[in-house]
Symmetry: C2
Subunit: 235 residues, 2 copies
Amino acid sequence: MNLILLFEEDFVNDGLVRLTGRRLQHVLEVHRAEVGQELCVGLCGGMIGRGRVARLDKDVLEMEVVLERQPPPKLPVTLLLALPRPPVFKRVLLAATSMGVARIVLMNSARVEKSFWKSRVLAGDNLQEPLVLGLEQARDTVLPEVLLRPRFRPLVEDELPELCAGTTCLVAHPVAAGPCPSGLSGPVTLAIGPEGGFIPYEVDKLSECGFVPISLGERILRVETAVPAVLSRLF
Amino acid sequence: MNLILLFEEDFVNDGLVRLTGRRLQHVLEVHRAEVGQELCVGLCGGMIGRGRVARLDKDVLEMEVVLERQPPPKLPVTLLLALPRPPVFKRVLLAATSMGVARIVLMNSARVEKSFWKSRVLAGDNLQEPLVLGLEQARDTVLPEVLLRPRFRPLVEDELPELCAGTTCLVAHPVAAGPCPSGLSGPVTLAIGPEGGFIPYEVDKLSECGFVPISLGERILRVETAVPAVLSRLF
């Protein structure tokens, strides 16, 4: 937690926040902060600044907060991600958020098990947890937009042409002929398939939308490795 | 498991292997292979080829093996990695191995908890497990060399000058002035610190060995994200 993410409801008045639960525990056990110490804070969706510890005990953390600068810019990336299996899901979303991905579309694919869509990691507020951890990791405050699209064809045929308009569209595909580009500056829509890859029909449908298959070489990487590897190379 | 890694002791004669345990279970449950089907195999430290399933039941998998091509080339990288905490350790070693890192030096740092060095993930054959998984993931057969160096100064003062001779030496450091280079072709020694980073003394000692601090930008990444992100950008 390189930044403590604050929400409007944490503020007891204009410049004072009161935190309990996970963030209190983290400051007690990992930061081991003391009264008077300044910690990096940021308002969800807003500015970054400093929080001066005014009170800290096992029940509550109070900080006097000054917000003074913008969060880092997002990567101009929409990540189309075949829904990973639940143990991997949180780590991939955390990594993509920490790297600054602006929008994540969780999509279906023939090799995504149907049961994954019923996982509790997608239910209610659970989906937000890895995003918050990713923001706290990277000292960012702006949640990526997350879309759940459990049906492949309606996404690709009806919605994707508009979603990816005006962007460089790439689909990571281990057997692709073309290498992964680098040094891009404009917006990118990047599709990354499930373990085992998109099936040929899916690659064809993405190609019809203008997606170009790219490869990182003959080594097949896990999704959680491929996401930071490709994102890092593109820009 | 995109490749089934074979060892000399798996061979019952020149062209026939007999597997039980983890690999048998994987072929039964994930590949769901049938007699006659061909699977990608490779001999640890040797060639890659095809294994034709000759027998498959709940007790044993037998394959007729033909080895016919070289594994993919390694990345010319020695990764100096501050020993990650045990839950992260396996994932980082798997990721680095799958990306083709040739040598991994697990090193100490002020922010590595002493208890990590006593973790059972380092004991005996446990260390090899994530390496084997990384090879199977990336269809490689050559284990990276792994060195354990639980003392910082003897490593940096006595051993490192020789280890990194003739290579581009880089240390990932979020507050570094210089950006991460790209398009390198020669050998690289890359140091990646613990969560919280190397302390200034450690960065100074690495600098004395010729290491240049580099940054991926103002976003601070988890070690498991930084490793693929930096490796992917370098070459």
